[in-house]
Symmetry: C2
DNA sequence: CATGACTTTAGTGTATACATAAACCCGGCA
DNA sequence: TGCCGGGTTTATGTATACACTAAAGTCATG
């Protein structure tokens, strides 16, 4: 693996996990020493992060970790709804019903995953990730899929901020199951509605958790 | 201006204007000699272009200029419709009516711009560009605006391919005027409809021109 | 003659030295 | 005391040398 890839992965992880707080300035020499590589790969990594929007070029003086405000969460979800509602509808038209029926069944069993001792909820999030991937594959539109992929980076960051509780995750699993069911049924309108509902509830929960701080 | 910015602008221009054809391999040393800078800024420029999707990293052996197929045009317009229809609706809800009323008036006078001798249609495209900017500003959503900005790069490339004739530009100006009118009237549904119509006709024209080759 | 391994070579990946510019600090002056 | 200006410092921006990898060509052998 290339050193620039490792630097990128490490920095990205640190930002997403909130180990690097918004406003932190990432100096090239400092990070190159911390990560044990030279400035060149760090530069490339910072460039990629800035292109993604995780960092912002602060003219002249390094790059800083981008902040996430309440307003920006609203904006993020506005774009998310635009893309995912459409994606759900397209998946309902073009996807393989069997794939989504299977995902629905697994999502309905999600409470089993959450009851086990897995504080990071890796199993659960992996399952939701598979639903995302299935939708990406079903729409067969690389531009749309790329747009959603670039969005998800920011969403994971917001999710870490929200600190999902078990109750919310149970509800979210049911909502995801409803989306999968609608897609499996080949019903675009229903898929749109289920997605809209899920995103609305997700946003409400995130904002409530954010305000509680 | 930084050397990497110049390299980026030069390469991007060459790709958009089809002076660098799809499939062309952009070797770092070759481009650095052509542009008169060292490999480092060229590397950064190529990284930015790849992030935008104008070039693709060809594992190990340089980057190649991305191809635009008929299928990818369909995908491009599918995402475009998703984003722009929503943007038009939001602009109708949030925009300043006066701004769009003025743009509508200018767009209705667009035939004057096209009749003059301006083979590149700079005046006309600048006017359409101002409508895009006004919509970007009106929606006040940086994520959505960024998504549309990244799309427009590819659209300009497709436009150069389509070789718009005067008749199409006249019709397109009228369609744009209808969008501006709907936004000025604060009517989201109408703005959506006008945008959908415009994009459908635009795509039809582009595909017809593409097939004609 | 074909196939496979070895050598060559071209090109990217990385490190580092140098150039340059912006920000900070300190001192002088109004 | 507040502001302005120049020097210093520290960061990024650029060039270049070196390392490494993968592809292509070539030679030898079956």
């Amino acid at each position: 693996m290339r050193a620039s890839d490792r630097a990128y992965a490490a920095l990205r992880e640190d930002i997403i996990e909130w180990r690097l707080r918004p406003g932190t300035v990432l100096a090239e020499v400092e990070q190159s020493e911390r990560l044990g590589v030279s400035r060149t790969p760090v530069r490339e990594a910072l460039g990629r992060l800035t292109a993604e929007g995780l960092t912002t070029a602060a003219g002249g003086r390094g790059v800083v970790v981008t902040d996430i405000s309440l307003d920006s969460i609203d904006e993020l979800f506005e774009l998310r709804e635009t893309l995912e509602v459409r994606a759900a509808a397209l998946a309902a038209q073009r996807g393989e019903p069997g794939v989504f029926a299977e995902l629905q069944a697994q999502l309905l069993r999600a409470p089993d995953l959450l009851s086990e001792k897995d504080p990071a909820r890796h199993e659960y999030y992996a399952l939701v990730g598979r639903l995302d991937e299935a939708i990406d594959a079903a729409i067969s539109n690389s531009y749309l899929a790329n747009a959603m992929r670039s969005l998800r980076v920011h969403l994971v960051r917001v999710r870490r901020l929200a600190a999902d509780d078990a109750a919310r995750l149970h509800a979210a699993a049911a909502e995801h199951a409803a989306i999968a069911e609608a897609i499996a049924a080949g019903n675009p309108r229903l898929a749109e509605a289920a997605t809209t509902l899920h995103l609305h509830r997700s946003l409400t929960h995130v904002k409530a958790a954010h305000v509680a701080r």
